[in-house]
Symmetry: C2
Subunit: 268 residues, 2 copies
Protein backbone atom coordinates (compact mmCIF):
# COMPACT_ATOMS: atom_id res chain seq x y z
CA UNK A 1 0.00 0.00 0.00
CA UNK A 2 1.10 3.50 -0.84
CA UNK A 3 1.93 5.29 2.43
CA UNK A 4 -0.08 8.32 1.30
CA UNK A 5 -3.26 6.25 0.97
CA UNK A 6 -4.44 7.19 4.45
CA UNK A 7 -4.44 10.89 3.50
CA UNK A 8 -7.66 12.75 2.70
CA UNK A 9 -8.98 13.93 -0.67
CA UNK A 10 -9.06 17.70 -1.24
CA UNK A 11 -12.04 19.20 -3.06
CA UNK A 12 -12.47 22.88 -3.76
CA UNK A 13 -14.96 25.29 -5.20
CA UNK A 14 -15.64 29.01 -5.34
CA UNK A 15 -18.49 28.54 -2.87
CA UNK A 16 -20.83 25.80 -1.78
CA UNK A 17 -21.85 24.40 -5.18
CA UNK A 18 -18.98 21.89 -5.03
CA UNK A 19 -20.77 20.15 -2.18
CA UNK A 20 -22.69 18.29 -4.90
CA UNK A 21 -19.35 16.70 -5.83
CA UNK A 22 -18.59 15.91 -2.16
CA UNK A 23 -21.98 14.25 -1.90
CA UNK A 24 -21.20 11.98 -4.87
CA UNK A 25 -17.76 11.16 -3.42
CA UNK A 26 -19.32 10.25 -0.06
CA UNK A 27 -21.59 7.80 -1.85
CA UNK A 28 -18.95 6.25 -4.11
CA UNK A 29 -16.01 6.26 -1.67
CA UNK A 30 -17.51 6.09 1.84
CA UNK A 31 -14.22 5.46 3.69
CA UNK A 32 -12.27 8.31 2.12
CA UNK A 33 -11.84 11.40 4.29
CA UNK A 34 -12.38 14.74 2.56
CA UNK A 35 -11.21 18.30 3.11
CA UNK A 36 -13.50 20.69 1.26
CA UNK A 37 -12.62 24.32 0.65
CA UNK A 38 -15.34 26.81 -0.44
CA UNK A 39 -14.36 30.41 -1.02
CA UNK A 40 -17.69 31.70 0.25
CA UNK A 41 -16.37 35.21 0.97
CA UNK A 42 -15.32 35.81 -2.61
CA UNK A 43 -17.94 33.81 -4.52
CA UNK A 44 -19.06 34.13 -7.31
CA UNK A 45 -16.01 33.60 -9.52
CA UNK A 46 -17.98 33.37 -12.77
CA UNK A 47 -17.76 37.07 -13.55
CA UNK A 48 -14.18 37.71 -12.34
CA UNK A 49 -11.10 38.07 -14.55
CA UNK A 50 -8.92 35.09 -15.42
CA UNK A 51 -6.01 36.65 -13.53
CA UNK A 52 -7.94 37.02 -10.28
CA UNK A 53 -9.39 33.51 -10.55
CA UNK A 54 -5.87 32.07 -11.04
CA UNK A 55 -4.60 34.00 -8.03
CA UNK A 56 -7.41 32.74 -5.76
CA UNK A 57 -7.16 29.19 -7.11
CA UNK A 58 -3.45 29.06 -6.27
CA UNK A 59 -4.15 30.25 -2.71
CA UNK A 60 -6.76 27.54 -2.18
CA UNK A 61 -4.79 24.68 -3.78
CA UNK A 62 -1.80 25.53 -1.58
CA UNK A 63 -4.02 25.58 1.50
CA UNK A 64 -5.31 22.07 0.76
CA UNK A 65 -1.85 20.73 -0.08
CA UNK A 66 -0.77 21.80 3.41
CA UNK A 67 -3.51 19.47 4.69
CA UNK A 68 -1.54 16.62 3.02
CA UNK A 69 -4.28 15.69 0.57
CA UNK A 70 -3.48 12.79 -1.76
CA UNK A 71 -5.65 14.05 -4.62
CA UNK A 72 -6.98 17.50 -5.58
CA UNK A 73 -10.41 17.82 -7.18
CA UNK A 74 -11.35 21.10 -8.83
CA UNK A 75 -15.12 21.03 -8.38
CA UNK A 76 -15.75 24.57 -9.64
CA UNK A 77 -16.32 24.78 -13.38
CA UNK A 78 -15.06 28.34 -13.57
CA UNK A 79 -11.79 27.50 -11.84
CA UNK A 80 -11.39 24.33 -13.90
CA UNK A 81 -12.10 26.31 -17.07
CA UNK A 82 -9.45 28.96 -16.62
CA UNK A 83 -7.06 27.85 -13.88
CA UNK A 84 -6.78 24.07 -14.17
CA UNK A 85 -3.24 24.33 -15.59
CA UNK A 86 -2.18 26.49 -12.64
CA UNK A 87 -3.24 23.72 -10.25
CA UNK A 88 -1.54 21.01 -12.30
CA UNK A 89 1.68 23.05 -12.36
CA UNK A 90 1.90 23.59 -8.62
CA UNK A 91 0.52 20.28 -7.33
CA UNK A 92 2.76 17.34 -6.41
CA UNK A 93 -0.39 15.16 -6.15
CA UNK A 94 -2.80 14.17 -8.96
CA UNK A 95 -5.45 16.70 -10.03
CA UNK A 96 -8.92 15.95 -11.43
CA UNK A 97 -11.26 18.58 -12.76
CA UNK A 98 -14.95 18.74 -13.30
CA UNK A 99 -14.77 19.89 -16.91
CA UNK A 100 -12.99 16.84 -18.19
CA UNK A 101 -15.46 14.63 -16.30
CA UNK A 102 -18.44 16.51 -17.74
CA UNK A 103 -17.04 16.43 -21.27
CA UNK A 104 -16.48 12.65 -21.17
CA UNK A 105 -19.95 12.10 -19.77
CA UNK A 106 -21.51 14.23 -22.51
CA UNK A 107 -19.69 12.24 -25.18
CA UNK A 108 -20.97 9.01 -23.65
CA UNK A 109 -24.54 10.36 -23.70
CA UNK A 110 -24.80 11.97 -27.13
CA UNK A 111 -25.99 10.10 -30.21
CA UNK A 112 -26.05 12.98 -32.67
CA UNK A 113 -22.78 14.51 -31.45
CA UNK A 114 -24.58 17.83 -31.03
CA UNK A 115 -23.88 18.99 -27.47
CA UNK A 116 -25.05 22.08 -25.62
CA UNK A 117 -23.11 23.56 -22.69
CA UNK A 118 -24.41 26.09 -20.17
CA UNK A 119 -22.27 27.77 -17.51
CA UNK A 120 -21.08 31.06 -16.04
CA UNK A 121 -19.78 33.77 -18.42
CA UNK A 122 -16.15 32.94 -17.57
CA UNK A 123 -16.60 29.20 -18.13
CA UNK A 124 -18.38 29.75 -21.44
CA UNK A 125 -15.90 32.38 -22.67
CA UNK A 126 -13.01 30.04 -21.90
CA UNK A 127 -14.43 27.42 -24.32
CA UNK A 128 -12.95 24.80 -21.98
CA UNK A 129 -15.80 22.32 -22.57
CA UNK A 130 -15.46 22.79 -26.33
CA UNK A 131 -11.75 22.01 -26.15
CA UNK A 132 -12.24 18.98 -23.87
CA UNK A 133 -14.96 17.57 -26.12
CA UNK A 134 -13.09 18.23 -29.37
CA UNK A 135 -9.93 16.62 -27.98
CA UNK A 136 -11.85 13.32 -28.01
CA UNK A 137 -14.36 13.87 -30.80
CA UNK A 138 -13.21 16.55 -33.27
CA UNK A 139 -16.46 16.34 -35.27
CA UNK A 140 -18.78 17.11 -32.36
CA UNK A 141 -20.85 20.30 -32.61
CA UNK A 142 -20.67 22.23 -29.32
CA UNK A 143 -23.03 25.16 -28.69
CA UNK A 144 -22.64 27.08 -25.46
CA UNK A 145 -24.51 29.78 -23.58
CA UNK A 146 -23.64 31.82 -20.48
CA UNK A 147 -26.44 31.88 -17.90
CA UNK A 148 -25.32 34.42 -15.26
CA UNK A 149 -28.74 34.62 -13.59
CA UNK A 150 -29.01 30.90 -12.75
CA UNK A 151 -26.67 31.05 -9.72
CA UNK A 152 -28.57 33.90 -8.00
CA UNK A 153 -31.90 32.25 -8.89
CA UNK A 154 -30.77 28.98 -7.26
CA UNK A 155 -29.54 30.86 -4.19
CA UNK A 156 -32.87 32.72 -3.99
CA UNK A 157 -34.48 29.27 -3.94
CA UNK A 158 -36.63 29.99 -7.01
CA UNK A 159 -36.07 26.47 -8.31
CA UNK A 160 -39.54 26.14 -9.82
CA UNK A 161 -40.63 29.73 -10.36
CA UNK A 162 -42.11 31.46 -13.38
CA UNK A 163 -39.18 33.94 -13.41
CA UNK A 164 -36.68 31.06 -13.56
CA UNK A 165 -38.68 29.34 -16.30
CA UNK A 166 -38.78 32.50 -18.44
CA UNK A 167 -35.06 33.05 -17.86
CA UNK A 168 -34.29 29.45 -18.83
CA UNK A 169 -36.43 29.73 -21.96
CA UNK A 170 -34.49 32.81 -23.02
CA UNK A 171 -31.05 31.34 -22.24
CA UNK A 172 -31.74 27.94 -23.82
CA UNK A 173 -33.41 29.22 -26.99
CA UNK A 174 -30.20 29.56 -29.08
CA UNK A 175 -29.00 26.13 -27.91
CA UNK A 176 -32.28 24.34 -28.60
CA UNK A 177 -32.44 25.91 -32.08
CA UNK A 178 -29.25 23.94 -32.79
CA UNK A 179 -31.05 20.63 -32.09
CA UNK A 180 -28.63 19.34 -29.45
CA UNK A 181 -29.46 15.96 -27.88
CA UNK A 182 -27.27 16.48 -24.79
CA UNK A 183 -26.94 19.45 -22.45
CA UNK A 184 -24.02 19.79 -20.02
CA UNK A 185 -24.89 21.59 -16.78
CA UNK A 186 -21.52 23.30 -16.57
CA UNK A 187 -21.87 24.83 -13.11
CA UNK A 188 -22.27 23.06 -9.78
CA UNK A 189 -25.38 25.13 -8.97
CA UNK A 190 -27.34 23.99 -11.99
CA UNK A 191 -28.24 20.43 -10.88
CA UNK A 192 -30.77 22.06 -8.54
CA UNK A 193 -32.56 23.41 -11.62
CA UNK A 194 -32.55 20.00 -13.32
CA UNK A 195 -36.33 19.35 -13.28
CA UNK A 196 -37.10 22.81 -14.66
CA UNK A 197 -34.33 22.64 -17.27
CA UNK A 198 -35.42 19.15 -18.36
CA UNK A 199 -38.91 20.53 -18.85
CA UNK A 200 -37.73 23.56 -20.86
CA UNK A 201 -35.28 21.49 -22.93
CA UNK A 202 -37.87 18.80 -23.68
CA UNK A 203 -37.70 14.97 -23.74
CA UNK A 204 -35.19 14.76 -26.63
CA UNK A 205 -32.36 16.25 -24.58
CA UNK A 206 -30.27 14.36 -21.98
CA UNK A 207 -28.96 16.51 -19.14
CA UNK A 208 -25.41 15.77 -17.98
CA UNK A 209 -24.29 16.78 -14.51
CA UNK A 210 -20.71 16.02 -13.64
CA UNK A 211 -20.72 15.23 -9.91
CA UNK A 212 -21.29 11.50 -10.45
CA UNK A 213 -18.81 11.31 -13.33
CA UNK A 214 -16.28 13.04 -11.11
CA UNK A 215 -16.72 10.53 -8.29
CA UNK A 216 -16.34 7.59 -10.70
CA UNK A 217 -13.13 9.04 -12.14
CA UNK A 218 -11.75 9.67 -8.64
CA UNK A 219 -12.43 6.04 -7.68
CA UNK A 220 -10.71 4.76 -10.84
CA UNK A 221 -7.70 7.00 -10.25
CA UNK A 222 -7.29 5.82 -6.65
CA UNK A 223 -7.34 2.23 -7.92
CA UNK A 224 -4.76 2.96 -10.64
CA UNK A 225 -2.41 4.67 -8.21
CA UNK A 226 -3.00 2.28 -5.31
CA UNK A 227 -4.26 5.17 -3.20
CA UNK A 228 -7.50 3.77 -1.70
CA UNK A 229 -7.50 4.24 2.06
CA UNK A 230 -7.12 0.99 4.06
CA UNK A 231 -9.27 2.51 6.82
CA UNK A 232 -12.68 1.06 7.59
CA UNK A 233 -13.42 3.66 10.23
CA UNK A 234 -16.03 6.37 9.55
CA UNK A 235 -14.46 8.93 7.26
CA UNK A 236 -13.54 12.39 8.49
CA UNK A 237 -15.06 15.42 6.74
CA UNK A 238 -13.85 18.97 7.13
CA UNK A 239 -15.34 22.02 5.47
CA UNK A 240 -13.16 25.12 5.19
CA UNK A 241 -14.88 28.33 4.13
CA UNK A 242 -13.84 31.97 3.94
CA UNK A 243 -17.19 33.20 5.22
CA UNK A 244 -20.36 31.87 6.82
CA UNK A 245 -22.88 33.93 4.88
CA UNK A 246 -26.59 34.30 5.46
CA UNK A 247 -28.46 31.03 4.93
CA UNK A 248 -25.16 29.13 4.60
CA UNK A 249 -26.34 26.13 6.58
CA UNK A 250 -29.65 25.84 4.73
CA UNK A 251 -28.17 26.21 1.27
CA UNK A 252 -25.15 24.03 2.08
CA UNK A 253 -27.28 21.18 3.38
CA UNK A 254 -29.52 21.43 0.32
CA UNK A 255 -26.40 20.81 -1.83
CA UNK A 256 -24.80 18.18 0.42
CA UNK A 257 -27.99 16.24 1.06
CA UNK A 258 -27.15 15.77 4.76
CA UNK A 259 -26.20 17.87 7.77
CA UNK A 260 -23.09 19.99 7.50
CA UNK A 261 -20.68 19.73 10.47
CA UNK A 262 -17.00 20.52 11.07
CA UNK A 263 -17.24 23.90 9.34
CA UNK A 264 -14.12 26.03 9.88
CA UNK A 265 -13.71 29.65 8.84
CA UNK A 266 -10.45 30.82 7.25
CA UNK A 267 -9.92 34.61 7.24
CA UNK A 268 -7.86 35.93 4.35
CA UNK B 1 -8.20 77.85 4.55
CA UNK B 2 -7.77 74.48 6.14
CA UNK B 3 -4.46 72.98 4.90
CA UNK B 4 -6.19 69.67 4.20
CA UNK B 5 -8.61 71.32 1.76
CA UNK B 6 -6.46 70.45 -1.25
CA UNK B 7 -6.76 66.75 -0.44
CA UNK B 8 -9.10 64.43 -2.38
CA UNK B 9 -12.41 62.92 -1.29
CA UNK B 10 -12.45 59.14 -0.78
CA UNK B 11 -15.49 57.18 -1.95
CA UNK B 12 -15.86 53.43 -1.62
CA UNK B 13 -18.19 50.66 -2.58
CA UNK B 14 -18.26 46.87 -2.80
CA UNK B 15 -18.07 47.16 -6.59
CA UNK B 16 -18.94 49.65 -9.27
CA UNK B 17 -22.41 50.70 -8.11
CA UNK B 18 -20.87 53.55 -6.06
CA UNK B 19 -19.91 55.23 -9.33
CA UNK B 20 -23.44 56.67 -9.30
CA UNK B 21 -22.36 58.59 -6.18
CA UNK B 22 -19.10 59.68 -7.87
CA UNK B 23 -21.15 60.93 -10.81
CA UNK B 24 -23.29 63.09 -8.52
CA UNK B 25 -20.19 64.41 -6.72
CA UNK B 26 -18.58 65.33 -10.06
CA UNK B 27 -21.66 67.36 -10.92
CA UNK B 28 -22.05 69.08 -7.55
CA UNK B 29 -18.35 69.59 -6.71
CA UNK B 30 -16.50 69.78 -10.04
CA UNK B 31 -13.14 70.91 -8.61
CA UNK B 32 -12.86 68.24 -5.94
CA UNK B 33 -10.52 65.37 -6.74
CA UNK B 34 -11.80 61.89 -5.90
CA UNK B 35 -10.24 58.55 -5.09
CA UNK B 36 -12.76 55.78 -5.63
CA UNK B 37 -12.29 52.24 -4.33
CA UNK B 38 -14.47 49.42 -5.69
CA UNK B 39 -13.92 45.90 -4.34
CA UNK B 40 -14.74 44.30 -7.68
CA UNK B 41 -12.95 41.03 -6.86
CA UNK B 42 -15.09 40.36 -3.80
CA UNK B 43 -18.40 41.90 -4.85
CA UNK B 44 -21.24 41.28 -4.01
CA UNK B 45 -21.23 42.04 -0.28
CA UNK B 46 -25.01 41.82 0.12
CA UNK B 47 -25.04 38.13 0.98
CA UNK B 48 -21.87 38.01 3.13
CA UNK B 49 -21.71 37.89 6.93
CA UNK B 50 -21.46 41.06 9.02
CA UNK B 51 -18.03 40.00 10.25
CA UNK B 52 -16.58 39.58 6.78
CA UNK B 53 -18.07 42.86 5.58
CA UNK B 54 -16.55 44.68 8.58
CA UNK B 55 -13.15 43.11 7.87
CA UNK B 56 -13.20 44.16 4.19
CA UNK B 57 -14.55 47.62 4.99
CA UNK B 58 -11.68 48.25 7.40
CA UNK B 59 -9.13 47.22 4.76
CA UNK B 60 -10.62 49.61 2.21
CA UNK B 61 -11.05 52.59 4.57
CA UNK B 62 -7.41 52.24 5.64
CA UNK B 63 -6.31 52.11 2.03
CA UNK B 64 -8.09 55.39 1.23
CA UNK B 65 -6.84 57.09 4.40
CA UNK B 66 -3.30 56.36 3.19
CA UNK B 67 -4.20 58.40 0.10
CA UNK B 68 -4.70 61.37 2.48
CA UNK B 69 -8.39 61.81 1.78
CA UNK B 70 -10.12 64.65 3.65
CA UNK B 71 -13.52 62.96 3.75
CA UNK B 72 -14.66 59.32 3.49
CA UNK B 73 -17.93 58.49 1.77
CA UNK B 74 -19.41 55.02 2.25
CA UNK B 75 -21.32 54.66 -1.02
CA UNK B 76 -22.27 51.01 -0.54
CA UNK B 77 -25.54 50.51 1.31
CA UNK B 78 -24.51 47.10 2.62
CA UNK B 79 -21.26 48.45 4.11
CA UNK B 80 -23.06 51.50 5.49
CA UNK B 81 -25.74 49.27 6.97
CA UNK B 82 -23.48 46.99 8.95
CA UNK B 83 -20.00 48.57 9.12
CA UNK B 84 -20.54 52.31 9.30
CA UNK B 85 -19.49 52.39 12.97
CA UNK B 86 -16.26 50.56 12.14
CA UNK B 87 -15.35 53.32 9.69
CA UNK B 88 -16.29 56.10 12.12
CA UNK B 89 -14.15 54.46 14.81
CA UNK B 90 -11.00 54.18 12.73
CA UNK B 91 -11.20 57.36 10.66
CA UNK B 92 -9.51 60.62 11.71
CA UNK B 93 -11.45 62.42 8.93
CA UNK B 94 -15.23 62.91 8.67
CA UNK B 95 -17.36 60.03 7.37
CA UNK B 96 -20.63 60.27 5.44
CA UNK B 97 -22.77 57.31 4.56
CA UNK B 98 -25.40 56.66 1.97
CA UNK B 99 -28.00 55.32 4.38
CA UNK B 100 -28.31 58.51 6.40
CA UNK B 101 -28.55 60.50 3.17
CA UNK B 102 -31.27 58.20 1.78
CA UNK B 103 -33.23 58.22 5.03
CA UNK B 104 -33.27 62.03 5.19
CA UNK B 105 -34.31 62.25 1.56
CA UNK B 106 -37.14 59.79 2.13
CA UNK B 107 -38.41 61.80 5.08
CA UNK B 108 -38.35 64.95 2.94
CA UNK B 109 -40.35 63.17 0.21
CA UNK B 110 -43.04 61.36 2.18
CA UNK B 111 -46.41 62.89 3.01
CA UNK B 112 -48.05 59.85 4.60
CA UNK B 113 -44.92 58.80 6.55
CA UNK B 114 -45.29 55.33 5.06
CA UNK B 115 -41.92 54.50 3.54
CA UNK B 116 -40.76 51.40 1.65
CA UNK B 117 -37.12 50.36 1.51
CA UNK B 118 -35.59 47.84 -0.91
CA UNK B 119 -32.01 46.59 -0.73
CA UNK B 120 -29.73 43.57 -0.49
CA UNK B 121 -30.50 40.88 2.14
CA UNK B 122 -27.76 42.18 4.46
CA UNK B 123 -28.93 45.81 4.21
CA UNK B 124 -32.54 44.84 4.85
CA UNK B 125 -31.72 42.45 7.71
CA UNK B 126 -29.67 45.16 9.41
CA UNK B 127 -32.74 47.45 9.60
CA UNK B 128 -30.32 50.38 9.18
CA UNK B 129 -32.80 52.45 7.15
CA UNK B 130 -35.52 51.82 9.72
CA UNK B 131 -33.23 53.03 12.50
CA UNK B 132 -32.10 56.11 10.57
CA UNK B 133 -35.69 57.05 9.69
CA UNK B 134 -37.05 56.41 13.19
CA UNK B 135 -34.25 58.46 14.75
CA UNK B 136 -35.82 61.52 13.06
CA UNK B 137 -39.46 60.48 12.81
CA UNK B 138 -40.41 57.82 15.35
CA UNK B 139 -43.95 57.53 13.97
CA UNK B 140 -42.94 56.65 10.42
CA UNK B 141 -44.00 53.24 9.13
CA UNK B 142 -41.06 51.54 7.39
CA UNK B 143 -41.62 48.40 5.30
CA UNK B 144 -38.61 46.73 3.76
CA UNK B 145 -37.91 43.97 1.30
CA UNK B 146 -34.69 42.23 0.24
CA UNK B 147 -34.30 41.98 -3.55
CA UNK B 148 -31.24 39.76 -4.13
CA UNK B 149 -31.95 39.28 -7.84
CA UNK B 150 -31.87 42.97 -8.78
CA UNK B 151 -28.06 43.29 -8.77
CA UNK B 152 -27.50 40.34 -11.15
CA UNK B 153 -30.40 41.52 -13.34
CA UNK B 154 -28.83 44.99 -13.64
CA UNK B 155 -25.44 43.46 -14.41
CA UNK B 156 -27.03 41.24 -17.05
CA UNK B 157 -28.37 44.47 -18.58
CA UNK B 158 -32.01 43.31 -18.37
CA UNK B 159 -33.14 46.78 -17.35
CA UNK B 160 -36.45 46.59 -19.19
CA UNK B 161 -37.09 42.88 -19.51
CA UNK B 162 -40.14 40.80 -18.76
CA UNK B 163 -38.13 38.71 -16.26
CA UNK B 164 -37.10 41.84 -14.37
CA UNK B 165 -40.67 43.14 -14.39
CA UNK B 166 -42.04 39.87 -12.98
CA UNK B 167 -39.30 39.81 -10.35
CA UNK B 168 -40.05 43.42 -9.36
CA UNK B 169 -43.78 42.69 -9.14
CA UNK B 170 -43.07 39.81 -6.78
CA UNK B 171 -40.57 41.71 -4.62
CA UNK B 172 -42.66 44.92 -4.40
CA UNK B 173 -46.00 43.24 -3.72
CA UNK B 174 -45.71 43.17 0.12
CA UNK B 175 -44.47 46.78 0.15
CA UNK B 176 -47.20 48.13 -2.13
CA UNK B 177 -49.84 46.33 -0.05
CA UNK B 178 -48.74 48.61 2.80
CA UNK B 179 -49.66 51.73 0.75
CA UNK B 180 -46.28 53.44 0.98
CA UNK B 181 -45.95 56.80 -0.81
CA UNK B 182 -42.13 56.73 -0.93
CA UNK B 183 -39.71 53.97 -1.92
CA UNK B 184 -36.01 54.14 -1.06
CA UNK B 185 -33.74 52.45 -3.61
CA UNK B 186 -31.36 51.16 -0.96
CA UNK B 187 -28.64 49.81 -3.26
CA UNK B 188 -26.46 51.72 -5.71
CA UNK B 189 -27.42 49.36 -8.54
CA UNK B 190 -31.12 50.06 -8.33
CA UNK B 191 -31.22 53.54 -9.92
CA UNK B 192 -30.68 51.79 -13.26
CA UNK B 193 -34.03 50.04 -12.73
CA UNK B 194 -35.77 53.32 -11.88
CA UNK B 195 -38.08 53.50 -14.95
CA UNK B 196 -39.22 49.90 -14.52
CA UNK B 197 -39.63 50.25 -10.73
CA UNK B 198 -41.57 53.50 -11.15
CA UNK B 199 -43.88 51.69 -13.53
CA UNK B 200 -44.41 48.71 -11.21
CA UNK B 201 -44.84 50.93 -8.12
CA UNK B 202 -47.29 53.25 -9.89
CA UNK B 203 -47.69 57.04 -9.92
CA UNK B 204 -48.52 57.37 -6.20
CA UNK B 205 -45.02 56.36 -5.09
CA UNK B 206 -41.95 58.65 -5.13
CA UNK B 207 -38.66 56.83 -5.70
CA UNK B 208 -35.71 58.08 -3.64
CA UNK B 209 -32.17 57.44 -4.80
CA UNK B 210 -29.45 58.62 -2.54
CA UNK B 211 -26.60 59.62 -4.88
CA UNK B 212 -27.82 63.22 -5.21
CA UNK B 213 -28.64 63.53 -1.53
CA UNK B 214 -25.15 62.25 -0.76
CA UNK B 215 -23.49 64.88 -2.97
CA UNK B 216 -25.54 67.67 -1.38
CA UNK B 217 -24.57 66.53 2.10
CA UNK B 218 -20.90 66.31 1.11
CA UNK B 219 -20.98 69.88 -0.23
CA UNK B 220 -22.61 71.16 2.96
CA UNK B 221 -20.06 69.36 5.13
CA UNK B 222 -17.10 70.78 3.18
CA UNK B 223 -18.58 74.26 3.71
CA UNK B 224 -19.10 73.70 7.45
CA UNK B 225 -15.54 72.45 7.93
CA UNK B 226 -13.90 74.92 5.55
CA UNK B 227 -12.65 72.02 3.45
CA UNK B 228 -13.57 73.08 -0.13
CA UNK B 229 -10.55 72.84 -2.39
CA UNK B 230 -9.14 76.23 -3.49
CA UNK B 231 -8.06 74.63 -6.79
CA UNK B 232 -9.69 75.72 -10.04
CA UNK B 233 -7.74 73.20 -12.09
CA UNK B 234 -9.51 70.15 -13.56
CA UNK B 235 -10.05 67.67 -10.75
CA UNK B 236 -8.10 64.43 -10.58
CA UNK B 237 -10.01 61.15 -10.51
CA UNK B 238 -8.55 57.80 -9.59
CA UNK B 239 -10.39 54.49 -9.57
CA UNK B 240 -8.92 51.66 -7.49
CA UNK B 241 -10.39 48.22 -8.01
CA UNK B 242 -9.47 44.73 -6.85
CA UNK B 243 -10.31 43.18 -10.22
CA UNK B 244 -11.10 44.20 -13.77
CA UNK B 245 -13.88 41.73 -14.46
CA UNK B 246 -15.63 40.94 -17.72
CA UNK B 247 -17.56 43.92 -19.08
CA UNK B 248 -16.08 46.19 -16.38
CA UNK B 249 -15.57 49.15 -18.71
CA UNK B 250 -19.08 48.91 -20.21
CA UNK B 251 -20.88 48.52 -16.91
CA UNK B 252 -18.68 51.10 -15.15
CA UNK B 253 -19.29 53.75 -17.80
CA UNK B 254 -23.02 53.03 -17.68
CA UNK B 255 -22.93 53.89 -13.96
CA UNK B 256 -20.51 56.85 -14.21
CA UNK B 257 -22.15 58.41 -17.25
CA UNK B 258 -18.79 59.19 -18.84
CA UNK B 259 -15.57 57.43 -19.82
CA UNK B 260 -13.67 55.68 -17.06
CA UNK B 261 -9.92 56.41 -16.98
CA UNK B 262 -7.14 56.10 -14.38
CA UNK B 263 -8.24 52.65 -13.32
CA UNK B 264 -5.67 50.95 -11.05
CA UNK B 265 -5.80 47.35 -9.88
CA UNK B 266 -4.96 46.48 -6.25
CA UNK B 267 -4.19 42.79 -5.61
CA UNK B 268 -5.12 41.56 -2.13
Amino acid sequence: MNPKAVNPIGVFDSGIGGLTVVRALMEHLPFESIHYFGDTARVPYGVKSVETISHYTTQIAEFLLEKQVKLLIVACNTMAAVASQVVHDLSPVPVLDVIEAGALNALAATETRRIGVIGTPTTVNSNAYGRAIHAVEPDARVVSQACPLFVPLVEEGWLDHQVTRLTAQEYLKPILTEKVDTLVLGCTHYPLLKPLLADVAGPGVTLVDSADAMAERAAALLTDLDLHTPSRQPADYHFWVTDVPLRFQTIGERFLGRSLNNVHVVKW
